[in-house]
């Protein structure tokens, strides 16, 4: 409540600060704006920033540390009997206090000391919020007055405002980068925990995957084995089938769109193809599981082949269809980027359209096409839903596209679905798989980006 009030007050103060800064700057030169170093609005922003920013920083700092500070104060007031436990019982104590404070009833009858602590917690909390409100307002008004006092025709308000904005931009981009790093690190640490239990060599080169483990010592069950080769092989197989569908079809579609289709047809065709990319993969999954897989099985059976009802072929084919727009759209762009002058040069020598496309346009666009294909591959490797629905979960080590196989992403999904212990090798193995997946797709993307960059340099 107090915090909302503070935010509203801050918003008001910045608006007022803007107006004040502006009018004072104008007044300081008697209305002759050209004499100001910066235009009046920059003076306005300057004051507004001073009014809003310091208080906002305090606010953010408070939000981050208040809970911990208050809890620390509450705990220090409790008798040693309660506080001097190990880390776990201390954690429980904290949870109890928080639960009581927020009115969550636990089954147990609470210790009177804990009840008192909870009340104290609430009191301190309210006190903290009120003092934040007061201090925040003081800082904001102080900042406003300070900045207003500094307004002067020579004040380099524009430079200061722009520098502040620059810093804000840098912080935003840092957030994105740090998030990525955080994700990678958490993946890495969990994977390290996994590799402490399972030998990395066994994981990377073992040929048997069955992550089920006995939960209790007396339980009858497999001991779990984590050879990931069948998963890698399954991923490779399905990706291979998908690319075998997507690359020729996508490339031909791109060539047709950029070289043969009339501009009118092109404006229709391209968006329609790109709609394919917008269909949620679950929907492709339906199609794969309910239409493609039975179809493949029936055709296989009528040819006298034994086809499992969940086949790599069905999943790979549907995944290929899903990826077509990737390949076609990116390739279409790079083919269009080949300068018309090269085509003219070729036509001018008496080459036909197909010769020009084959011998000049495609070779010139090749690096871009390769990059498009690599991006498509990393997309295929990362695809989960279609495989989960259509190719099954059986970790077969096979090269037969008519068998059921499973992929890395599908296994990750199934390993983490439902209630899990987060420290059993079974669950942790998901992070090991995730790490491998991450490294592979990162490499593919980096190579693809490098290729694209090199290609750009050539024609710009």
């Amino acid at each position: 409540m107090q915090l909302t009030v503070l935010l509203i007050i801050l918003a008001l103060l910045t608006v007022i600060g803007y107006q004040m800064g502006r009018s004072r700057a104008v007044a300081s030169v008697g209305g002759r704006i050209v004499e100001l170093h910066s235009v009046p609005s920059y003076h306005g922003f300057y004051v507004a920033l001073w009014a809003g920013l310091p208080a906002l920083l305090l606010f953010a700092f408070w939000g981050a540390s208040e809970g911990w500070l208050v809890m620390q104060m509450v705990l220090s007031g409790l008798p040693d009997r309660l506080v001097n436990g190990d880390a776990q019982s201390l954690g429980l104590l904290r949870a109890d206090i928080l639960n009581l404070a927020h009115g969550v009833t636990t089954g147990r009858e609470p210790d009177p000391e804990v009840v008192a602590a909870a009340e104290r917690y609430l009191r301190l909390h309210a006190l903290g919020d009120w003092s934040l409100l007061v201090i925040g307002c003081c800082i904001a008004i102080g900042g406003l007055l300070y900045a207003r006092g500094r307004i002067d025709p020579d004040l380099r308000a524009r430079n200061r405002v722009e520098r502040t904005v620059n810093i804000a931009l840098v912080i935003c981009s840092l957030v994105a980068i740090l998030t990525t790093i955080g994700i990678v690190l958490s993946l890495l640490f969990e994977a390290i925990r996994f590799f402490a239990v399972v030998n990395p060599l066994e994981f990377l080169f073992g040929t048997h995957w069955s992550p089920q483990m006995a939960m209790r010592a007396d339980q009858v069950g497999s001991s779990g084995s984590f050879g990931a080769i069948p998963l890698f092989a399954g991923t490779l197989l399905i990706t291979g089938i998908a690319m075998a569908v997507a690359v020729p079809v996508g490339l031909m579609a791109a060539i047709f769109m950029s070289e043969y289709a009339s501009p009118g047809l092109r404006t229709w065709l391209k968006p329609i193809l790109e709609v394919l990319a917008g269909i949620p993969t679950v929907v492709y999954g339906f199609f794969a599981a309910l239409t493609m897989a039975p179809f493949v099985r029936d055709v296989g059976n009528s040819l006298g082949l034994s086809v499992s009802s969940e086949s790599a072929l069905a999943a790979g084919f549907v995944m290929g269809v899903m990826i077509i727009p990737f390949v076609s759209s990116l390739s279409d762009d790079v083919i269009n980027a080949v300068p018309q002058s090269l085509r003219d040069g070729s036509y001018g020598l008496g080459a036909t359209k197909s010769e020009t496309i084959r011998l000049v346009v495609l070779p010139a666009a090749l690096p871009g096409i390769v990059a498009a294909i690599m991006l498509a591959v990393s997309r295929a490797i990362g695809e989960t839903m279609i495989v989960t629905m259509a190719a099954g979960l059986t970790a077969n080590l096979t090269a037969n596209p008519l068998d059921a196989v499973t992929t890395v992403t599908t296994q990750i999904a199934t390993l983490l679905v439902g209630d899990q212990e987060f420290d059993s090798p079974k669950t942790l193995s998901a992070f090991g798989l995730g790490l491998v997946l991450f490294v592979v797709t990162l490499t593919l993307n980096m190579v693809a980006l490098r290729v694209v960059q090199k290609y750009r340099e050539k024609y710009d």
């Binding site: 040069g345 008496g350 036909t352 070779p363």
Partner: protein, 272 residues
């Protein structure tokens, strides 16, 4: 792209021109439309064998458009329509017996901006001969590459780096590479659209020299904005203005004694 020939067949017969030079190409009442916009309003022109014809005129008057008609490069432009008659050796180039691909092997083109393919120097030259199946084995192809580069005056500069990309040459060298590439398919006519406009004076002088030598074996039509260049390299000059061909005569005549005052205005620099 549609073509209407409403010219009696007799008009196609090439008239003997002055001197020993026969007529290589004829344009009769050539009109070109880009959509509804008319770019050429009925051009009549004769291009003589083994001579250089310069096309001059202010920007946008239709020189490039006319040039592209001569080897049907306009076919590749959407909504471009050509009317009238264009003949090569007395044969209608839009007629049934010639298709655009064959025609362009006989009437080659060099563009304003050098446009080497992103291939090696060797493959740039060999491109045309390969697609037309001119050379039957490697030695023959090597021979063609060498003579083409020699004729284009580029051989000495590149003979040690034939496998390097053509795009790595300097602008002037690239343009000579493109000329060599055009020569390699042994065309009868070479069309050049402002071939020197992207080059420095030294490279330009090089190419002008080259054009003068090429005249022995080829018929050349060159578009240029440079009056001195037209005067130096051509024997005939045609002046275009707003889609019309105003005047065509011996180059000396045009530059010393123009009949039309628009021509006079242009070459003396009153507009353009």
């Amino acid at each position: 792209m549609s073509v209407q020939t409403h010219i009696p067949a007799t008009a196609m017969a090439s008239r003997p021109a002055a001197g020993i030079h026969g007529t290589k190409m004829v344009a009769r009442d050539v009109k070109v439309f880009y959509g509804a916009k008319q770019a050429l309003k009925g051009i009549n022109l004769e291009i003589q064998e083994n001579r250089v014809m310069a096309l001059i005129g202010p920007s946008g008057c239709g020189k490039s458009t006319f040039l592209r008609c001569l080897n049907r490069m306009n076919d590749t432009i959407e909504n471009c329509r050509v009317e009238g008659l264009i003949a090569l050796d007395g044969e209608d180039v839009y007629g049934k017996n010639i298709d655009a691909v064959q025609l362009r092997a006989r009437v080659g083109m060099v563009f304003q901006k050098p446009n080497p393919f992103p291939k090696s120097i060797y493959d740039n030259i060999a491109y045309g001969p390969r697609i037309h199946g001119i050379a039957s084995h490697r030695d023959e192809m090597d021979e063609i590459v060498q003579t083409s580069l020699q004729r284009a005056g580029l051989w000495n500069e590149v003979k040690d780096r034939l496998r390097e990309p053509g795009t790595g040459l300097s602008g002037g060298q690239q343009q000579r590479l493109c000329i060599a590439r055009a020569i390699a398919v042994s065309p009868e006519v070479i069309l050049m659209d402002e071939p020197c406009s992207a080059l420095d004076p030294i490279a330009t002088a090089h190419i002008e020299e080259l054009i003068d030598e090429l005249r022995e074996n080829y018929t050349i039509v060159i578009v240029t904005h440079n009056m001195q260049q037209a005067a130096r390299v051509s024997q005939k000059t045609a002046f275009f203005h707003l889609g019309d061909m105003v005047e065509c005569d011996d180059t000396e005549e045009i530059f010393t004694n123009p009949r039309d005052e628009r021509t006079q205005g242009y070459i003396t620099g009153r507009y353009g």
